[in-house]
Symmetry: C2
Subunit: 365 residues, 2 copies
DNA sequence: GACCAATGCGAGATCGTTCTCGCAAACCTT
DNA sequence: AAGGTTTGCGAGAACGATCTCGCATTGGTC
């Protein structure tokens, strides 16, 4: 470690410094460090010694430019890391990528298409090798078409898209929610409330929005199917669509509860909305799992820990992240993989948030 | 939009293609697009037209190499995005960075120094302009010294470090937890339980570990000070150190509760541990805020929504993230800023998880 | 000793930008 | 009309790596 001939003060050592130190040419130094071509053992040793004497670190930018590969993938996710899904997915993706020697450049759209478009643009300019995106709700997805991506592969998570056909990793939310509804019905619930997140909506509405992201759509259809399978009449189903914000969700819960013949159970399409139910129930001194029941999509630590435990439709979030990365890297390594729409199964985890009405008929109003 | 003269099938358009299309030189095209130097209005128009006819997107790698700036910062965080702190911080950092035209390359160490060192190495090779890191517990921090960083600025969050003196953004956890203890004591609590996260520990122990990260240390000291201020005797303080894992935390809670003269309140040093308390309390049919009280550090959505609401020492997490980014960018823009140790205030948010023992003396065993 | 193959190494091109510099044409100014 | 100044543009170097190619040297074979 010859620390300081202070000839060039800043200026990080480059490969030419290493070459000079070892008394060889740039080419030889590169070959020695990169272990390709033919180099004698002795010069390899000399170059390596020179390299760490100087504290040489290769400039990945230069390398990337030459070889055309950055070993970086871009992740475009909607903003809410507080959302139980996206933080777990992010972690899984970062970890899995690292396992394969990739790093991830992360951006978030706030569910806004303009930002998403911009984010993808920037990522592409930074020459990411591929993209993982959860597409925000939008009319047009032209910016996700292969041509716009400069041939760089992309995989979608959480939500599928029909128009530009793309590989996506999703879950069978239809079956999952249908199962949840069946479970509730088997416990005697007949008046069902559905609290559906719809970012396309302002505030709260009974009207079904024109456009729902696939995840929400599947959940909605699952609820519907489960209910109609059991012969639940349409007027015993309480649908309500609301914006994905605490205020709106809470208003929606309140309005559900204030209806004549209110639901005995509320299904929510994500964790944040489940919290809204908890909050309003708490305000009204209603006990979850007794006075009002609750099932939500996505498991979380708190859902398992609190009393009563919340019954959930659990999705294999980590698996989604891992699969997204492996599929993406496969396509990067060998372009031309078939487009794949992966649908993973969900799991109903029953805890204590749905009351057994057969054991407490007297309580039902 | 002349879509396809299919002369060169792949090969993204570069600036020479744009120049050719516009009938000017590379230099002129660059100048026109980059709006520097002198270029006539008409050629600017022509070049721009050519650029978007071709769908030209600058290669940020090449640009970065030339100008020596990547507009990218590296974030090295410990793994747990599920941890209420780190996911919020990440979001805040990503958002704030975007606001300034920066993107963030994210990696996580699993609280392991070797991984942290490696992660920083990789980030530096990718030529990030600066680093934000939450240092993992470790003996040596040589890899955080300026020399090892090639002069690139760094700011720490969540935890401060004494040895290499570095700019850090932290909170006054000492004062925060002391206030929490005072609050509990004012409500009649005299037997205090402290559940302290210590990643350096295996399982559960009463012995104070040799090394605690600054955050945990401050909280510990704060508890201690609060207790001794009120004259709480040492043998009424129940300390327990445990690994930051669900299993260990739950074991620690159980062991606390099983002591002779068990604590009436448990302070936990993070959210995950608070969940452990909730869980064990639930198993034992103990009601939080009545049979056992709870205060934790860090607010979260669930802590506010559940019944009873959890009293917390809230930290301004988003502000930490924002400040970290602004300080870092300031140093990037103008190196030589003084080292700064920012300590932000916390806020005690009282909800219903700590029982008022003066109103229910009869319940105290 | 002559020929051929194998080996080790260096010169130089390349990736896609930016930016300095100099040159020519156009534009004043007197 | 002659000089100087401005303006617009292009040639070419630079950033820091990789990698092809060819040249010299070595080694082996008959």
């Amino acid at each position: 470690m010859r620390d300081d001939d202070v000839t060039k003060p800043s200026h990080l050592p480059t490969i030419v410094d290493v070459a000079a130190e070892a008394g060889v040419s740039r080419a030889t130094a590169s070959r020695a460090l990169g272990r390709y071509g033919r180099t004698s053992a002795s010069t390899i040793a000399r170059v390596e010694q020179a390299a760490d004497a100087l504290g040489y670190r290769p400039n990945e930018l230069a390398r990337a430019m030459r070889v055309g590969v950055t070993k970086t993938i871009g992740l475009v996710i909607i903003a809410d890391f507080t959302n139980a899904f996206f933080d777990r997915a992010t972690k899984a993706i970062v970890d899995e990528a690292k396992l394969h020697g990739y790093q991830v450049l992360i951006t978030n759209t706030d569910e806004e298409t303009a930002i998403e478009r911009q984010a993808i643009e920037t990522l592409l300019e930074k020459q990411v090798d591929g993209l993982i995106v959860v597409p925000s709700l939008s009319a047009g997805y032209e910016h996700l078409k292969p041509a716009q991506l400069g041939g760089r592969p992309i995989v979608l998570i959480d939500r599928r898209l029909d128009d530009p056909p793309l590989t996506s990793i999703t879950t069978d939310d239809f079956a999952g929610t249908r199962e949840a509804v069946r479970h509730a019905i088997s416990l005697g619930h007949k008046r069902l409330g559905f609290l559906i997140s719809a970012s396309s909506v302002e505030g709260v509405t009974d009207q079904r929005p024109t456009h729902l992201i696939s995840t929400v759509l599947d959940r909605t259809e699952g609820f519907l199917q489960g209910a109609s399978d059991a012969g639940i009449r349409r007027n015993s189903q309480h649908w309500i669509f609301c914006e994905d914000k605490p205020k709106s969700s809470e208003a929606a819960v309140a309005s559900l509860l204030d209806r004549p013949n209110p639901p005995t159970i509320i299904f929510t399409s994500n964790n944040d909305m489940a919290l809204a139910v908890l909050k309003i129930a708490g305000n009204r001194r209603l006990t979850i799992g007794r006075d009002i029941s609750l099932v939500t999509v996505d498991d979380s630590q708190w859902a398992a820990a609190i009393v009563p435990g919340i019954t959930v439709v659990a999705r294999p979030v980590e698996e989604i992240g891992q699969l997204a990365v492996t599929k993406l890297l496969a396509e990067i390594a060998e372009p031309g993989q078939p487009i794949e729409v992966v649908v993973l199964p969900t799991e109903l985890i029953t805890r204590d948030s749905v009351a057994n009405l057969y054991l407490q008929d007297y309580r039902v109003s």
